[in-house]
Each structure stands twice: as C-alpha cells, then as structure tokens.
C-alpha cells in the first residue's frame, strides 16, 4: 500500500455504491422530496380506485388531477418560502 494512502478510506466498490445511491437520491428526491412522497401517495390512491373499487373513470380524472395539485402545492410553497 502506498504510504500516502489513507487506510481508513472506503474501498472503490464502496465509493461506487455510495455514488450510485447518491445519484438516484438526487434524481428521485433531490430538493423536492414532496414529489417523491406525493407521487407514491397518488399511486396508492389510484391503485385503490382501480383495483379495490373498480372505478376506472374516477381514476382517469383523479390521477392527473392529483398530479396538478401536487405541482401547484410545490410551486406555491416555493413562492411562500421566498418571502
């Protein structure tokens, strides 16, 4: 081992795994965790409508409707937090 190498430094596979996890975290969560959580909640509601209640027509309207509510909520929150 070279003298200048830190023995406590993580190995290459560990660093690569960390970088991979960080990439997906930034990609899916990043600075808008509300989208990650919100989309999962929407998926749950749509699943209930389609699978449990067999309400296809309701799901067709509710799915995009909730997506717009999520977008509006996030944008308006950004405006409020700026003040």
């Amino acid at each position: 081992m070279p003298l200048d190498q830190d023995p406590t430094a993580p190995s290459l596979p560990v660093r690569m795994a960390k970088a991979f996890a960080m990439f997906w975290w930034d990609f899916l969560v990043g600075d808008t965790p509300e989208f990650f959580v919100g989309v999962l909640v929407i998926v749950g509601i749509v699943l209930l409508l389609v699978r449990a209640a067999s309400l296809n027509s309701a799901a067709v309207v509710v799915f995009p409707g909730l997506v717009v509510v999520l977008l509006a909520g996030s944008a308006l929150q950004a405006r409020r937090s700026r003040r």
Binding site: F35, L40, L47, V50, A59, V67, A78
Partner: protein
C-alpha cells in the same frame, strides 16, 4: 405512425437536445481553456461508458421485465422527473428562479478552468480537462440514457427512442461546434417546459396503464394529457405570479 410514437420521438428528441446543449457547454469550455485533445478524450470516454450502460440495460428492460411492471415503474420515475422539470419551469416563468443561461455557465466554467493549475500527466493529457469533459458528458448523458430507456422501454420501442436521441445529439454536435461560444440561442427554457409537460404526460399515461387504468381513446390520451397539463400549468403560473400587492409588501420589508 401512431400518435404515441410521434409523441415519444418529440419528447426524447427535445429532452436529448436540452441535455446535449448542457454537456456541450461544459466540453467546449474545457476544450477552449485547457486544450481540445484532453477534452475530446474525456468526452469519448464518457460516451463509451454510457453506450455500455445502455447496451447492458436496454435489452434487459425491454425483453425481460413484464410490460405492466415496466410501465408502472417507468411511469412513476417519469412523473417525478417531469414534475421536477415543470416546477423549475413554473418558478422561472414567475421570476422566482433565474433562467438557464448557457453563456453565463460557459463563462464561469472557462474562468474556473483557466485559473486552475497545470495538471498535465506524463502522457501529455490534461487531467482537469479530461475529468471535466468526462463528468459533463457522463452526467448529462446519463439523464438522456434514463429518458431513452424510460420512454423507449415503456413504449417497447427502444429503437425509435434511441434514433430520436441520436438525431438530437448529432444536431447539437454539428451546430454546436460551429457556434460553440454562443449556445444561448437555443430556447432552452421553453424546451424544458415542453419536455416537462411530456414527461409528466407519459408518466401519467404509463404509470396509469401499469396500475390498471384503461385510458379512454388508448394512445390518444397522451396528447390530451399534454394539453390538459399545459393549460393547468399555465394556470399555476398565473396563481404563483407575484401580485402588485405582494411586490409592494416585499419592497416595504426590504426597506
């Protein structure tokens, strides 16, 4: 040609165009300030790694994963990714976020790279230029790869998605190097809004299909979703736009 295929091509082409412009900005900045050889080698290495990733994952996604599962997972990912793009577009439209300015990014990159110390190795390669060009190509390219694999995989039409991305990258490469220092001519902010709308629409459509929704009109639901989301996003922009009263309040609190 199916409506969904045209929409798929437009979405992949525009998304790849935007990401390619961002990558080119970094590559040209590295080339001009540190030397073209190392910058182009870094770019080639970045492209090489991306080709391996797409080659390994693409066929696996399309041929081995059940279409319903693929569409549900891809739909959720596209929805999250698209919402992030659309939120940025809304915030830019109402002035809460600075517009993406490639000229400014280019100048900053050139300044940072020019002031960095010499990092030429024994093979005559400038490590700084190589790493900056590699990272720019790889990270922006990875987003293109995810969009190509997501949209192409969801539609079971990886060839069309790859061709649309390839056309966009080729266009940016040819035109970009001619007007290398003036990338701000690309209407990037408007294109990002369109891409955001399309990603959210495809995400809703495929996510819905994966979850079991039967969309009225089948593929025709995609352009309808794009239209509905476009109108509602415009309404959100109007809602989020600071009013004269809120601007006056801000001015008072600043004073």
């Amino acid at each position: 040609m199916h409506t969904s295929t045209v929409a798929l091509m437009v979405a992949v082409f525009l998304a790849s165009l935007v990401e390619s412009v961002e990558a080119l900005t970094i590559i040209v900045a590295a080339g001009i300030s540190r030397g073209w050889r190392s910058a182009l080698e870094g770019t080639a290495a970045g492209i090489g790694v991306l080709v391996v990733i797409i080659g390994a994952l693409g066929p696996t996604l399309v041929y081995l994963v059940p279409i319903a599962v693929l569409r549900a997972v891809v739909g959720v990912m596209l929805l999250i990714f698209g919402l992030q793009w659309l939120r940025k577009a809304v915030l830019r439209a109402v002035g809460l976020k600075a517009k993406h300015d490639e000229d400014l990014i280019f100048d900053k990159q050139v300044k940072a790279l020019s002031t960095a110390g010499a990092t030429v190795n024994t093979k005559g390669r400038d490590t700084q230029a190589f790493v900056v060009a590699f990272k720019g190509t790889f990270l922006e390219g990875l987003e293109v790869a995810i969009i190509v694999l997501g949209l192409g995989g969801g539609a079971h039409d990886l060839a069309v998605a790859s061709a649309a991305a390839g056309a966009a990258i080729l266009l940016v490469t040819v035109v970009g190097f001619i007007v290398a220092r003036h990338l701000s001519w690309v209407p990037e902010n408007a294109m990002k809004t369109v891409v955001g709308l399309m990603l959210v629409s495809f995400g809703t459509f495929w996510g819905g299909e994966g979850l079991g929704i039967k969309w009225p009109g089948s593929d025709l639901a995609i352009p309808v979703l794009v239209g509905v989301y476009a109108v509602l996003t415009w309404l959100i922009v109007q809602l989020a736009r600071p009013t004269n009263r809120s601007l006056a309040e801000e001015a008072r609190s600043a004073a």
